[in-house]
Structure formats: C-alpha cells, structure tokens
Symmetry: D2
Subunit: 389 residues, 4 copies
C-alpha cells in the first residue's frame, strides 16, 4: 500500500478548487463558501505542501484596505500554524463583467489599464506571501467573432502588458517568475494562446522571455484532443515548464476539471513518469473541481484522491522503468537510439552525401519490414498501470 502524502511530495491546491461552490452554467451553487483559513488547515491535515490563490479568492473583489489587511493576516496566521507554503499566486481577470472582453487584450483601453493595476497589486501580495511563480490564465483574452478582435493587435497588447509586469517584478526584486496557462476555449469561443505551443511561441517575443514560462493544465490540452505528455515534453525541452496544473478531462467537451486520473488514466501514467524522471522540480498543483454532486465530505475526499492517485502512478511508473522485460522491449523499440545524433561526430552534410551506406546502398525495404514492438511496449505499460506485473 502506498504511503500517505507528505509535504515532500509537493502537492498544492488552489483555494478556488476545494472552495468551488459548484455553480455551473445551468445550475446554482450547491455548497456554501469555504473559509480560506479552514482550507489551509484541512489541506495541511491531508498532507499537502502548499496552497495557491487568485486575489479575489482571498480578498473579496472591491474590499477596502482594512478588510484586505484582515483577510491577509488571517491567512498568514493559518499558513504559519500549518507550515503550508504559497508557491504560486494568480489574478482573477475573468469573473467581473469588466473583463467580459478580456483584460490585457480588451478592446477597451481603460479595462487594460485597470487589469494591469489589479495584477500589480496582487503581485505585491504574492511576493509578501513568498510565491515564486505567478500564473496568467487569460481565459477572457479571446473572442467569439473573428470580426471583433484584431488578433495581432491583441498579441501586441498581451506582450506590452507582460513586459511591463516583468519589469515591475524585476525592479521590485520579487524573485517571481511568470507562467502562462493556455486554454483553447471556454469561457470565450476561442481563447488567444490556445495551446502549450502557441504560448511557448509567444513567450519568445517577450522582452523578458527568460522569466516567463508555462503552467499547462491537463484538461486544457485534452480539450483540443492534444497529447498532454507530448506537450509537457516539448515545454520541458524549451526549459519552460515552470508550473503544472493536474486534473482530469474526458475528451473534447466543456472544461471538466475532474480529479487527476479520473480522465485519461493511461496518459496520466506517462505524465507522472515524465514529471518524475524529466527534471521537473516544482509543485504538483491540482487545479480541479469537486463535482457539483458532492458536499464538504466529498470535497475533502476528492482532494485526497488527487494525491493518492498521483502517488500510485508514481509507484507504477517506477516499477515499469525497473522491469527487465520493459527494458528489453525498449531496446527492441529503439527508444534510446533516438538520443544518438543522426550525424556522426563532426560529420557534415558533405560527408553524409558521400556515405553510400546512407542512401545508395541502403535498402529501405529491409528497414521498412523491421518490427518496432511498440504495441508490446504499450501493453507492458498497461499491465504495470494495472498493477499486474
């Protein structure tokens, strides 16, 4: 039996996850509000490492300065009591009607200026609470109509906003890095920077590109039918996996935010395998929603379920890698051979052109007939996942 989660596992949760009151597009809230202080204590008891927040999760939108201070103090006290850390924070730039056409890319310039101010204010708090990562989910940056949004201008403004904020964070010495969170759609018909790829490309155009990376979310890529493991591998390859949102999704539909592993379980297995062996050192952050059918007992059960499944998958992945039969299958499949450069050391294209074994004397029929054993390798993974080996 798998050990219980401990802070060493670096599991974190957003206040808005367990705190979701379960209103959805067709239904009212089914749960009362949850006090952030209560959340901190319960997460600590469950073995979590940290907690994350949007400004408005902690301090209701429109609070005066005195209220604001009170909310922050209570929260800090709870953190201190429990030892929970705040590795990440973010801004709510999507809930209030003012952001209905976006924040950094709203057509309305006033809204853009307001959004920047709202972020800066929360960056101060994030730094005060010790956050190292600041997430930008631009859920309202997009459109329903191709006539209504000049996408190139929008990208200019997106860049302008992030450049300014990067400068702000740098000047203040906050030690915070930014992580963009892509999503293809919902709530907007089409969201800008819809996938890991689009966000990575955009980052390259930023003035402080080095301090901006990604916070990919399982379900967001899967809503576009993309392989999340492939996406994370590419993000790692670019050195841009700054943070990660774990949850579950069942295909191309509305954003489900299921418990991690309650969606595509096979992909979740390979994801944990990659995170554990691929050099990612950050928090394992769960950005999920306890189903609308659950009461508060179900909320905490679902929080625990996320961590438990992660640990089980980690165990299974380790056994998979250690199995000699798997290692043989990997050899048959030539997986490691891909790490060998295609060219010999120092080989130029002229050398390659001169190598008759590469083309003139190469028999494509023979190479084409060679079996790769990929299916057997997958089957071994399935059997390990099922705990049957």
């Amino acid at each position: 039996m798998t050990a219980n989660p401990t802070p060493a596992d670096k599991f974190t949760f957003g206040l808005w996850t367990v705190g979701w009151q379960a209103a959805d597009p067709f239904g009212d809230a089914t749960r009362p509000a949850l006090d952030p202080v209560e959340t901190v204590h319960r997460l600590a008891e469950l073995g979590a490492y940290g907690v994350t927040f949007h400004d408005d999760d902690l301090i209701p939108f429109g609070s005066g300065d005195a209220d604001r201070a009170k909310h922050v103090e209570r929260f800090k006290a709870a953190l201190k009591e429990t030892g929970l850390v705040v590795p990440m924070a973010t801004t709510n730039l999507f809930k209030h009607p003012v952001f209905k056409d976006g924040a950094f890319t709203a057509n309305d310039r006033e809204v853009r200026r307001y959004a920047l101010r709202k972020v800066m204010r929360n960056l101060d708090l994030a730094a005060e609470l010790g956050a190292h990562t600041y997430v930008f989910w631009g859920g309202r940056e997009g459109s329903e109509s191709d006539a209504a949004k000049d996408v190139r201008a929008a990208l200019d403004r997106y860049r302008e906003g992030l450049d300014l904020l990067a400068e702000y964070v740098t000047d203040r010495g906050y030690g915070i890095k930014f992580a963009l969170e892509p999503k293809p759609n919902e709530p907007r018909g089409d969201i800008l920077l819809p996938t890991i790829g689009h966000a990575l490309a955009f980052i390259n155009s930023l003035e402080h590109a080095d301090m901006v990376g990604l916070n990919p979310e399982v379900g967001h890529e899967q809503m576009a039918g993309l392989n999340f493991v492939h996406g994370i591998a590419q993000a790692l390859w670019h050195g841009k996996l700054f943070h990660i949102d774990l949850n579950g999704q069942r295909g191309a539909k509305f954003d489900q935010d299921l418990v991690f592993g309650h969606g595509d379980l096979l992909n979740a297995f390979f994801l944990v395998d990659l995170l554990e062996n691929g050099g990612y050192e950050g928090p394992r952050h769960f950005d999920y929603k306890p189903s609308r059918t659950e009461d508060i007992t179900g909320v905490w059960q679902s929080a625990a379920a996320n961590m438990r499944t992660y640990l089980l998958l980690k165990e299974r992945a380790a056994a998979f890698r250690a199995d000699p039969e798997v290692q043989d299958a990997l050899a048959v499949a030539g997986v490691a051979e891909l790490a060998t450069p295609t060219l010999n050391a120092g080989e130029s294209y002229t050398d390659l052109l001169a190598d008759r074994s590469a083309f003139e004397d190469f028999d494509p029929e023979v190479a084409g007939a060679r079996g790769k054993g990929f299916v057997q390798l997958t089957q071994l993974a399935v059997e390990h996942l099922l705990g049957s080996r």
Copy 2:
C-alpha cells in the same frame, strides 16, 4: 459575377491533389493515375499560377537516374509551355514503410540518415525548378504510444535535421526558405509539432530560425478545434507565414481535405479577409482532395471550385470592409482601439501606479455594463458573406 482566376491571383495546386487516386483506409483507388504533364496543362487552362510537388509525385520512388531525368524534362517542358511556376516543393517522407516510425525522428538512426539524403536530393530539384519555399510535413514524426517515443530526443533530432538542411540550402545558394506544416494526428496517433503554435515555438530553437517559417493548413488546425484565423494571425504576427494550404474540414474527425469553403465557410471568409489585408504575399495553395466519388471531370470541377470560392470570398470581404455600417459597428466594438498601446507614450509602471483614474477612480461596474456590439458585427459579416448587403 466574379472574374475568372488568372495567374495574378497566385493560385497553386499540388500534383498530389488533383492527382489523388482516391484510395482511402477502407477503399481502393477509384481513379487512374494522372500524368503530371497533363495536370500542368489543365491547371494552366483553369487559370492557376503554379504547381507544387513531392519528389515521388514527379519521379516514382526508386526510379533510376535515367528515368528520373526523363520525368524532370517532361515536367519542365510542360511548365515552359504553360508558363506555370513551381513556387514550392516538398518531400514524401511518409508513404514508404521505411518511414513508418518517422523520418527525421525515427528511432532507427539509419532511417533518419536516409531521410536527410532523400530531402537533399529533392532540394536540388526544387532549386532547379525555381522553388522558393520547401515544405516539411512531418506526418510520420510522432507516436501511438507514449512509451515508444522520447519526445525530447525526437525534438533534438528534428532540430538537427533541419539545421543541417538549412546549412545545405544556404551553402548551395538555393534561395529556398523552409515551411513547417503542423498537424495534430493522422496518420500517427499523435504527431509532433501538432499545431501552428508548437511549430512556431520549435522554430525559435533552430540555428537558422530566420529561414524557417510555417505552411499552416486549414483542416489541420480545425481537426484540433482551433480557430484557423487566429492561428494565421499569430503566424503573421511572428513574421512566419511563409506559405499556406487552403482546404475544407468539418470538425474534429479524420483529415477530409475538402474543397476550400466546403467546410467552415464563416471562418474561410475571415481567413480570406485576413490574407488579403494582412500582408501575406505568397501563393494561395490548395491542398485538397477531390472526393472519392468523383471521376476526372469532377476532379477539374473541384479544382476550379477552390479558386472560384476564394475569389467570391475576396469580393465579399472587400465589400464588408467598405460598408459604412460595418465601419460604425467596428467603432462601437472598439476594434481599432486595441491598436492603441495600453500605456501612454513614455509611461512607466510608476506612472501607471500613480494614475488614480486607472484604478482607484475607475468604475468597473460602468465599464462592465458597456455593450460591445460584437454580435451585430458578426451578423453584418454573415450578411455580407451571403451577398445580401
């Protein structure tokens, strides 16, 4: 009535499009092979500007040097006779079993070396025929199993291959630029660089990033539910729209390669609007397949249909932009306001923080209540598209 297409419209077709014999995963070919020389003549008669090819479209895989020369000569003669140009060429790295696990990213190193040689050979021909763009569609670069492909090693090899080929082209003075063509899946379960975004991000990591751009295809992005117009806008924003593949697709299913406009017509309208007004000067390349139900008459009708629909949409888009009522609606929607930087000229974040009108005195309720008129703008577009205004 719209004028007929002329070479000035820069319409181009792949040999493999009209030449598709209509074998599909469940059925045999329904049409005989088409002689590339015949294709050149027919396309010229229809008003096309150019023709494009994979090496194996022109010269059957495995041909000897003498046959190869003969095929090339006949093709060149046809081009000369008709005035058609060859603005783009590409390599078939997907049909032969040797590429079943990829070309530049095959686990098997021999295959990778062979693939590079096959490309170099065809680059020589592309240059000889005057091509300025060389497309890479990595349809076999991918996997069905997350166990069988080390994605990060694969990206290393992809980069290695493209760097070598860029060097080759540069040294030879071919004046050719590369254009990567993303696709999310099919024939592989998941293809590497699945979207415009992933490919743009990857390009930034290349040694000769400046000579590598994109060849996005309508249907490929739509297979992932992504807004093609948004993708093209981002590609233009990065200065990377080197070429484009126009066709039609009806949602997240197999790659349909329908006639341009026979899929998402509203998105096609905004696409033509963007291409005509967004600074793209390259060929309008149709990468479609005449349906399997068609004989050769249907093939040429379908080729003509692509061009005709493009010209009609161009006409509609021009009328849309010229309509004063549209211009009013754009003003209401604030579309142009997004081009105004969020900051004043010379404004720093300190200035912004000091601007009470931006935050302290800003009333989000008022701004949030403001109607944007986006639906009316879309409706005006629909009515222009329907030719009713």
Copy 3:
C-alpha cells in the same frame, strides 16, 4: 432585400434566451434581469410569432400562490396585447441543487417524485397558456462516473416518469405533445439520451410513444460532431420532429448557443432547405444566448439577427432548388434515383437472385468508375449561399 419577419414565419424565442443574464462558469452576470412582459413586447415588435418558457422563467422558484397568479396574469395580458402565442413550454429541472444528480433519474427517489410534481404543475400552466408542445431537456439526467449511475435503471425511471406524465396530459385533455431534447454532455459529464438517435430509440419503448417526439437543437448534435441535417432528416423520417431549437455552435466544445448561422453556416443552409421543403410545420424556435459582451441593445439586435439569417437562408435555398443548373447537377448525382425502390414492383429475393444483370453480368468496374459530381453540386450550393448566382 429580404422582407422583415412576420408572425407567419413562426419565429419563437424562449424567455430564457434574450433574458439570459450572462453568468457563465467563470463569470458573473453582465446584464440585469429582463421582465418577461418587456420581452413579450419587444419580441412582438421584432416580428416574432411566439414565446416559450420554463416555469421558473416566469415564476421565480419557490413563489407563493398569490405571486404565482400575479406573474401569470401579467404575462397573459402581455400576450393578449401583442398577439404573441405560447406554442411550447418546459420545466426547469436543472438549476436548483436538488436536481444536481438528475430529476426523473436522480438516484434519490424523493427528488424524482418532486420532479414529477413540478412538471405536472407547469403542465397545467402550459395548457392554460395554450401550449401544444412540452419540451423535456434532461440536462442533469446523467453522470460523471460510470460507477455512480445504473444507466438501465435510469432508463426505467425515465420511462416511468414520461409514461405517467403522458397519462396525466391525456386524461386532462390538454392536447399537449412531448418533445425530448437530446444533448451529449454539459452540465453532466455524460447525459443520458445524448443524441437524436438515442432519444428516438428510447421513445419507442414508451407506453404513449405516439405522443412523444423530439426537440433537437443545432448545437447539441454538433457538440458530438454529428451532422445536424442528417439528424433532422432521420427525425422527420420517423415522424418525430415535433419542435426544433435553432442556434449556432463552432464544433466539439462547450455549448455556445450562438445566433443561428453564426456557427456552421453551410449546414444551416441545408437545414433551412430541409425544414422548408421537408414537411415541418412547427415553430422555428431560437434557443440561443446573446453573447456575454452584449448589453440590452445587443440582446435585441441578436434576436433580430436569428430571424434575418433564417429568412436569408430560406431565400437562398429556394433559388438553389429553382436553378436549372442545380437540377442538372442533381440529375448527374442521381439524387432522385434513390427514391426508386431497389426492387422492382413485386420483385422477391428469388427474382433478384435470378436476375443475372444484377450480379453475374454486372460490371462493378464500370459502375465504380462513374463520376457522381457531388463536389460540383456542393459548389453550386456554396455559390447560391453566397448569393453569387
């Protein structure tokens, strides 16, 4: 230019459509509540024929009898003043937390009993207001977990509920027919009776199957990537198209409820063609949502846009059918030939077996080589849709 809508066009709207306050899963309402009386007057001015409602649209959930009567009286007065009719009504069985696990198929038996009572109560009102159709959208009848719902028991309960309600309506002499509205998912992870087909099959199992048909919605089928025109044709074929919900959707994503024609325009064209020529006589009901970006001006513009696009498509479809070139293309495609039975009059399988021309002397190569001209036919439709012929 197309004439303005009149009641003869039978355009109807739900109170909840223009009345949507635009709260979504990530955002608060952007518009104030709309008085149903105001809605009736505005719809009448715009040329609508009727209005439809959920019980809770008209009478807030939990109202006392006196309030209830007052709400109904005001509404009836407005109908009388404007001449608007109420051809359809329905029940809100999804918004209140009590329905979080379904209504007729909730695991909790008390909830099921309550749901039946809520429906019966509103059936009385529907009859009083003259509705002929009563819609059942079972948005909460479903599950997120295959462990939590016994689907076969759920279908038993669904049937039990509808049988009871059919008996009630019959006994009371309400002259009301039922129309089931399928949807694949959202708000539940998977909804029971997810498509037109599943609902049609289910209806056959009902005691009063003859009085139960369908209310299909454009976007609901398109969320599953299904061809809405095909679905409507099958519903008509079974004699079960009792009502229809028109709107727009852009592929397999969250339920967008766009204006009719703002999604898949080509499919909308063929839908109007089918509705106008396929024997459907009922209301053209718009079940859409004015985008969250709109204020009240945008709300009424969007309502008008639905009707205007329908009328334009109707005009285009008529011109398409009347065009001699289209008629020729239909003949080439053999579309009408499909109405000829495969067997000759009175032919048995023995006769068919004896007909050597059907098999032994039939040349599949010749038949297989025959071009169908389907692409040209589609192109003619596109050109008519674009108003260019």
Copy 4:
C-alpha cells in the same frame, strides 16, 4: 497472475484484424498478406474461441467458383483442426470503387441491387460455417455533401434492403440474426446511423425488428465523444446487444482501432464490468488493427494483448464489486435506489398529486445539500483498476 485465455472466454477476432497489411491514407502496406489458415492456427494457439470474416477476407473479390470452393475448404479444414468456431460473418461493401457512394443506399440503383446479391451470397457461406450473427457496417452509406444524399430516401432503401435480407435468412432457416454497426464518419464525411442510438431507432422501423440488433464498437462511439458504457447499457436495455467490437481509441480523431485498453482505460474497466454482469453472453470480439509499426511478431503480441487486458479488467471489476468499502460507497451514492420505482406500487398520478410529502412538504434545500459521494466511488474504482486495493 491472470490465467491465460481459453475458448470459454469467448474471445474472437476478425480475419481482417491480424490480417491488416497496414496501408493507411498516407502509406503503403508494411506487412505481407496473411493466409487465413495460418490465422486460424495462430489464434487457436493463443486461446481464442473463434474467428470472423468479410466475404472478401476469405475469398478474394472476383474469384471464380472453383477458387471460391478451394478457399472455403481450406478454411473449414483449419477450423476443424483447431476447434475454432465462426460465430459471426459480414460483407465487404466498402472497398471496391463500386461502393464509393454506398451499397444499400447508393444513389445508383444498380449498385444497390448488386450489394444485396453480394450479401445474400455471403449469407449462404456464413450459414454454412455456422455463424449466428451477421454484421452490417455501412461505412459507405453516407455523404460528404448534404446536397448529394436524400437521407430520408436513403433510410427507405436501407430498410428495404434489410427487410429483404431478413426475409431471405428466415426463409432459408439460417438461424442468423443481424447486427448493425454504427459509426459517425470515416470513410464518408458523415455516415448514416452514426451512433448506437440512431441505429436502435432505425431498427424499430424494420419489418423483422426482432431479428436485428447491434454490433457497437468502442472506438466508433468514442470518435463522437460519447460514453461507450452508456451506449452499451442503452443497447442492453433495448435487448439489442447482439455482438460487440472491442478496441481502443484516443478521442475525436480518425478511427484508430488500437488494442483494447490502449485507449480510454477507465471506460474499458466499466465496460468489462457491465459486460460481465449485464447479461451479455455473446463473443468478446476484437476489431482492432495491429499498429503499422509492427511486424508479424508484433501482430500476434497485439492479439494476445487484447485478451490479456480483458481478463485483467474482468479480475479488477470482480474485486471492485466484492469490496465492502465499495458496497458502502454505492449505498451512500444511492446507486441501487434508482432501481426502486418512483411511484409506489399501484400509485397513480392522482395519488402522487395528493402526497404532500412529495411537493408541498418536501424541502428541496435539504435534498440539494445532500452529498452523493460519487467522486469517492470513482476513486475506489480507479484504485481497484490500478490493482492497489
């Protein structure tokens, strides 16, 4: 460790599955043809129960009578030798160009007559080989253009064809039942009877509806984003699960035909649970394709993998059902309560109207606040699936 498959497990395979030569839309075959006799022997060695076939799998299209007889004799001998049975057969009505616009619903009447003859001929063989089920997959019955196919006429012809064939089978005393296999698209843009639901509805319109049921395929429903377990439950509820095609699919994309369990593993778990406990007694038929990367060794490994995963899931499902903690969670979730009718025995709607506890005295707030524990139940399933309980 799970026992090896035996004929008692009723595992069957199509000749076309292991025999697939791995040509795909973009690539040539990577494997040589497989002799059906060889297939029979190998499947028997692996523990299979039976084998199934399309006419053209066994007897090449266009074979003369002598060749035909020879092919059949060899096959029968192999069956006799190995003990393998043939529980199902089907017709290839999709590969030859003659079927490019459909078989039973081709616009071309000659093609429809030819198709009926082809089926009758193979029904004779199916009966001779002892098949009890005859599958109809109408992969070409559909369209790419809504203009080119009169769907209602097509359904008339579909019915006409099936009625005739049912009569034929009945008269001949073949003891064969028909099983329709739905699919949403591919190879046609849209296929008629696209889902389990549409096919069930259609069956009700047939003259011999009692002898026609379904052969649903995992991947086909998942291509439309539908929950396969829900679909199978509805098919069972209608008494129409005559046969089943097991395989794997990864979402809304081209038809992947992966090994069973290599797609949505969690859904596969609940599927096996339902099949084993839901009264289905027929063959567990694998309709998958060994990936194009595999050689003949991989082919047989993949065949074994299907059976092995099924047996593992069966074991896991049994443990899940037996676990007292699961039983407690099912009770909390009220899963069994749904089997209790909503009405009391003999209760009429009048009684229900008179029951104040059902409405007037019912407190929806209390019922709405009750937690269902669905997430915990799912988590228990995941942990059983992972073999960790």
